[in-house]
């Protein structure tokens, strides 16, 4: 699984880095960021889904792989 934030939609609500701090972080203005390549380790997939489902702006995209 890969995770991505659409910067055109993100408004800095911070639900993602609150719920899944291992997958997301905040930038200097509070917008969400995905550090690294966005690959989600299997044990963090539930957190990734939870972050996506709680984003008020629908700014998080999850791509299931192979």
């Amino acid at each position: 699984m890969k995770v991505e934030i659409d910067p055109g939609l993100c408004q800095g609500h911070g639900r993602c880095y609150g719920l899944a701090p291992a997958l997301f972080r905040e930038d200097d203005e509070g917008y969400g960021q995905v550090p690294g390549d966005g690959v989600v380790p299997p044990e963090a997939e539930r957190d990734a889904r939870l972050a996506a489902l709680n984003c008020p702006e629908h700014a998080i995209e999850l791509a299931e792989e192979g």
Partner: protein, 435 residues
């Protein structure tokens, strides 16, 4: 000392102090039909707006009123979200629905930027403030906030009943905001007056309203002068020195932004803390669960924010248009009810219930789109710390007299009188995890 002549009294012209703008007839009194004559200032709405919103959602779903010179009230999540995201057709020039429309020329800055600003100015004004309001930047205020909450609880010693709205919730954001802006902490009660004047004095005679708003700007100007004489590490000094487009900010932008932080930061958090304690006082199962499992608080808080979202915003329609089934006219108000959006069954399962462990919760308590509440991370910190400090010392409490609870009127809704029976608070824990 350098003279900063931006802040002489003559140069201050802000928001409702402008002589231009449009006034509409003040209409008060019982609502005839909520679909055609709604008013969020009537007691029925402040006592319990949710059944009214639920009814309107089914039969309108966009309600109308001729009060305030004409306004619309969308009640579906879909419509609220569409308006919040559409800054082309809906202006934030004034976000408090009243009988006064500021002049169109006030856009795109508005009286209290950036909340009252439209693009493109909005983005730049907001960018100035965002770094001070990140989760990380606000963490520095958490220990002092916790210590302050504990000192409030210490002051309950010997009392079986306390007013959780007046003796606890209201003081917390007042103290934090005073600290952030660098205002004297003992000025808290004055902030409360400013908040009431601006948010609850909507239907006062125009002259009195202007007079009251002027009092706040006079106070802010005093604080600016104090900071010019003695600059320090706080938001007021930051705003005085901040630059936009290579120039220092207009004085009205400085005091407007200060007004925003003062007004928007106080009774909003006060309301969220109070409404959460009100819910826990009347819902023993939820209270006991949070006492037993404090780790659930972050999830529970989001649900309390959804169910009792304190804040409703306003917009002004830019041009005549047919919109989602209604004929909107230029300068019509929109009452943008995030609380109504948060209880739309099309968006949330069991929308009318408080489900304390609701895991998927895409609520809009902090708004949507470019005006997402600037202070949302501050509000969450205050709410979390206030509830943690309370529950750790007062794990058991009930409503002393449900009939004595009162709620604020207007666009920010929360308990203003909240007598709770608390028994005897537990002694402070000798081990403090953050001292």
């Amino acid at each position: 000392m350098a003279i900063d002549d931006r802040f002489t009294r003559d140069s201050q012209e802000t928001g409702e102090r402008e002589v231009t703008g449009t006034r509409s007839e003040i209409i008060t009194g019982p609502v005839r039909d909520w679909a055609t004559d709604f008013s969020h200032l009537e007691p029925e709405w402040s006592a319990d707006p949710y059944p009214i919103q639920d009814d309107l959602r089914q039969r309108c779903p966009i309600a109308r009123t001729e009060r305030f010179g004409g306004a619309w009230l969308p009640t579906r999540h879909e419509d609220v979200a569409a308006i919040a995201h559409d800054t082309e057709r809906f202006s934030s020039r004034s976000v408090i629905l009243s009988n006064f429309r500021p002049p169109r020329e006030l856009a795109p800055v508005g009286g209290s930027p950036p909340i009252s600003s439209d693009p493109p100015f909005h983005h730049d004004a907001r960018k100035l403030l965002l770094p001070a309001f990140t989760k990380k930047a606000l963490a520095r205020y958490e220990p002092a906030t916790r210590a302050f909450c504990r000192s409030l609880i210490d002051s309950f010693a010997g009392r079986a009943v306390v007013d959780a709205a007046q003796d606890y919730a209201q003081h917390i954001p007042m103290r934090v905001i005073a600290d952030m802006l660098g205002f004297p902490p003992q000025d808290g009660p004055r902030f409360r007056e400013f908040v009431e004047d601006l948010l609850e004095g909507i239907n006062l005679p125009p002259d009195e309203r202007v007079e009251r708003v002027s009092r706040m700007f006079d106070y802010l100007l005093e604080q600016v002068h104090d900071h010019l004489d003695e600059p320090r590490d706080d938001l007021t000094t930051y705003l005085i020195n901040a630059e936009l487009y290579g120039r220092k900010l207009d004085p009205s932008v400085v005091t407007g932004a200060m007004a925003l932080l003062l007004i928007a930061g106080i009774d909003t958090s006060w309301s969220a803390i109070g409404a959460s304690l009100w819910h826990l006082a009347k819902t023993p199962a939820d209270r006991e669960r949070l006492v037993a499992e404090p780790g659930r608080l972050p999830t529970a808080m989001e649900e309390l924010l959804r169910a009792y979202a304190p804040v409703t915003m306003a917009r002004l329609v830019k041009e005549d248009m047919h919109w989602h089934g209604v004929e909107m006219k230029a300068e019509d108000w929109i009452l943008l009810s995030f609380p109504a959006a948060n209880r739309d069954p099309a968006q949330f399962d069991r929308a009318h219930e408080v489900v304390i462990d609701r895991e998927v919760n895409r609520h809009a308590a902090f708004g949507l789109g470019i005006h997402r509440c600037l202070g949302s991370h501050l509000a969450r910190m205050e709410l979390r710390v206030a509830l943690e400090a309370w529950l750790e010392r007062i794990p058991a409490f009930t409503l002393d007299d449900p009939g004595a609870v009162t709620w604020s009127a207007g666009q920010v809704r929360g308990p203003r009188t909240l007598p709770l029976r608390i028994g005897r608070p537990l002694a402070p824990s000798p081990v403090s995890h953050d001292a």
